[in-house]
Symmetry: C2
Subunit: 651 residues, 2 copies
Amino acid sequence: MSAEPAFNRPALEQLLGKRFFYAPAFSLYGGVAGLYDYGPPGCALQANVLEIWRRHFVLEEDMLEVDCSIMTPAEVLKTSGHVDRFSDWMCKDLKTGEIFRADHLVENVLEARLDGDKIARNAPVETKAEKDEKKKKKAAKVTAIRLDDATAQTYKEILAQIDNYSGPELGELMRTHQIKSPETGNDISEPVVFNLMFSSSIGPTGQFPGFLRPETAQGQFLNFKRLLEFNNDRMPFASAQIGRSFRNEISPREGLLRVREFTMAEIEHYVDPLKKEHARFSEVASYKLKLLPASVQLQGKTELLEISIGEAVEKKIVDNQTLGYFLVRIHMFLTKVGINPDRVRFRQHMKNEMAHYACDCWDAEIHTSYGWKECVGCADRSAYDLTVHSNKTGEKLVVRERLPEPLVEEKLQLEINKKVFGPRFKKDAKAVEEYLASLDETALESLKSAHDSTGSFSVSFNDSSFDITKDLITKFEKATITTHIREFTPNVIEPSFGIGRILYCLMEHVYWIRPEGEQRGVLSFPPTVAPTKCLLVPLSTNDVFVPVLKKVSSLLRRSGVASKIDDSGASIGRRYSRNDELGTPFGITVDFDSIKDGTVTLRERDSTKQIREKLETIVELVKDMCDGRTTWAGVSAKYPAFVSQEQETNE
Amino acid sequence: MSAEPAFNRPALEQLLGKRFFYAPAFSLYGGVAGLYDYGPPGCALQANVLEIWRRHFVLEEDMLEVDCSIMTPAEVLKTSGHVDRFSDWMCKDLKTGEIFRADHLVENVLEARLDGDKIARNAPVETKAEKDEKKKKKAAKVTAIRLDDATAQTYKEILAQIDNYSGPELGELMRTHQIKSPETGNDISEPVVFNLMFSSSIGPTGQFPGFLRPETAQGQFLNFKRLLEFNNDRMPFASAQIGRSFRNEISPREGLLRVREFTMAEIEHYVDPLKKEHARFSEVASYKLKLLPASVQLQGKTELLEISIGEAVEKKIVDNQTLGYFLVRIHMFLTKVGINPDRVRFRQHMKNEMAHYACDCWDAEIHTSYGWKECVGCADRSAYDLTVHSNKTGEKLVVRERLPEPLVEEKLQLEINKKVFGPRFKKDAKAVEEYLASLDETALESLKSAHDSTGSFSVSFNDSSFDITKDLITKFEKATITTHIREFTPNVIEPSFGIGRILYCLMEHVYWIRPEGEQRGVLSFPPTVAPTKCLLVPLSTNDVFVPVLKKVSSLLRRSGVASKIDDSGASIGRRYSRNDELGTPFGITVDFDSIKDGTVTLRERDSTKQIREKLETIVELVKDMCDGRTTWAGVSAKYPAFVSQEQETNE
């Protein structure tokens, strides 16, 4: 699938800047790559998308929302594996010291060579906009050099699995394919690991290291016990969190798509590892998704598989029902906020690419003018997180479940004589006791045979050996053990949303240019996510319109519809055009007739069609359309179209 | 004003922990002072309070909401003055290295001595709860030693203005009053400055220092130009931001009242320095507030002045109308979310205590069991911030306003000959030109007299002197200058809310213990801020109740009322008691009669009184009470009380 041919990214970017959807942060000070500020429309858009997220996930699925600390002690992230493994591979131009992200460098250079090959073969050349884009990205220079077919094929295969290479492999690729610093042609250093967390220190002594969280997940895991208790110990359940996370990207690029500080929305859904079925799976089983499984990518291909989630789980393409259920819910959410569902695919992670904790992982990727971009991850993190935190802190993070029927087993029981044990092993006594208690049935069987023949046995652990003599053992025999409780560490299914990325993709998907007249940009947000729902325009700045304006405005406020008055001196056409750029779906015009008969004109953004009714009726209609109870199609079918002279002249 | 006599802080804290309103973050890892996680009820409470804030300020006053970067380049905070001045005074136990915040140490020790004095004089001694509290705070040990009257008086005066001392003054106080390390009795170091910002570095080179923002204000100032343009260049206007800020407190204490990471809500209201009147001031002029002016505090007193804001501004107690308007709006907001208005006062900052940028500042302080606590600051920051950023970056941060009548002035005009100027001064040419352009009328007058007598003059700046000879000057004479535009740097009025502090105060204010039976805690949140609005309880776990439950639940959801079902096996009384602790204002019971006739029981939390009506009626009533259209008093006056047997037995 290729980008919509009519899409003009520079024009969109100009609009988003001019209307202050977002802007580079600290631009007065020259700016900082990867940091952005949201202006009023961007901020409202984000709030609306988050509100829909909260309703779609937290309320509808009865999740437990939490709000945890961003500043995180280093020890926590050491345990979770982030200190050691949350990193990218970085390399340097050996002469200028310029820094590159290793995988991006390889991608960049090979893409440029393939482009050069295309030119040399007289294949269709890129558009001007595409060229400008590459320049902006500091892409490697394209030179028209024809590659032999085998080389071109190799490059394509490398690019199809670029996310799958380790640092040393990337270094190997650079040597094999003679990859140099794109601007200087200098040699490049071997890729080295660069940890992506921002570090700081907590408290006045400087001796307590901390990091800004790179994801909101750890705070949720650390509160597992409290949340389970809050949920009256019932399983399965999910916690959720919306908040900022931070990643010190090596070289942020592509606007909101790769930033150093971002709002995430994450769900941790805890399931019994033996019961990964989902109670509501049947409701979604026939829902179709476009999948790109790991196996396809490893063949260097990108063909999508369109398949119902029911079949995908049955065929084990998607690991389990709960994971599958969330893939569908994610797709529904994206569609609800206005993402074009035809431009969404789910790509499975390849093994090397998968986060260290995950046992299966699918990314919801959204198609943009930059290509397919990961916007939501959905990983089965297995029992990894709860297990490592539990092991490290000694706090049990488990679910205790009463068994429907008690479990009766014959098991070897080893009972020790504590009175003798303590004095004999002194400081080691506890460790030896714990070691013995930790042995499984097989290990006990083998000790038992030694015990049965000699009356004693010895054990070794931690480089020490201990003789367990006869006097230390009070009982060592088979006994019937009845278990009423099953204890298990839940697995975690984690849907994780990058909100800024979704917002950017949404803005690309809803952007178009009105062909008539002066080529005006329009952002066709669905009414539910539009920053402002309704624009109020008096015909002119004449004070006679003020009472009706105030009445409409207060009726809309009481209905909970966000509206803005534009009583500037600009022509109505110009004012509407400004609001097309802000994505405001409805406009109400107050004119001289409004004062006489209480009617107003309602204009719809995308069609620019109008109707005219009593202002109370119009307010009701706007409210119903914003709440999704009806649509403009429904409204315009019911009410006659209205054509004003003003409108015709100015639009 | 003293704490409510019946207030039991340990019991409240136990409840808040048990119901997971909030909990120390990272407690599995031993916790980190000053970092907290909000559980589901705390998170919902916060979201509701923020939603009211947004409606009360952003929507009602048409503010421009933004969402800016937390990570901030050091240069920005150097310019704003935070790198040099955003700090507290810290001192050390010279032997153990234990660290204290200097003002807290002095406060702590002097309070302990005054307590000892009280005991020695047989004055009423503190309660056990107060004692426990002090122990927890590691307060200085109280020894019953009688002070002479003059000393006791001196201590009281020091405590009344403890926020007004500089570091050296605190050091002086420690020496004069023999203040030692409370637990060890060791000597204490001189107070040294400790900067309260968390530092980090941005990007892969480690050479770009940054800080986590200590307030959300700077992001708003840096976007001033974009926001003014977004507002169609109209003044006055305000921006607003809700978000996290970070302060690396020396020794956080008092729970949510002093933390290292917190949610703020800040407004930057830009006004013309010559027009600090407020258009809506007349609406609030008669609103009465309790004020504690700086002049009263400097006398070592704390008497409150109850006065209408109109009179306070007229008497110049409060500097201007806009500041006064916001003090009232702040008070209204606090009352709206459930803070007891009798326990709110506005304390003016004393000169030394005032932030470096402020020209007047009032704190809304809320009374708690810890004493009066600053929860909202309202400062007039004058033109400080815009000026320093403008000076540093060379970007004009001003408002240009068309004058109603052009300003006609006779002014000296100095015109230079650029052709000669460049070659003569070479690299200095631009600097000399700019210097001449920057001179005011008086300076020009004095150069003019030299010029008139000799035909030339000389100027000195930056340790250099330059001769401006005759050939360099093309014109130097009075001319009539007509100005159509006035250019000015707006002043900023900044109301700044610490959301966590407000939440804690609120929880103290609405907490009480039901005296009957087993002394059950209740949190009487107003319905608008309550985490959950309505509890649904079936009489038992019997499946026959499910259809009615589902119906009520879906009706409530459609009405936008957050509800929870509690179908656990616990008795109805126990389930209601759990929800009293969660502050859920309403409860609906579904019983066997509900299945027969579609009626349900509605219980109100504070009175535990009930009514019984058709379920549709009950849902309507709950919605109306949650939206503030009616109250329980209104409802219970209209519908007959209902007494169930179940209720009587269990409550």
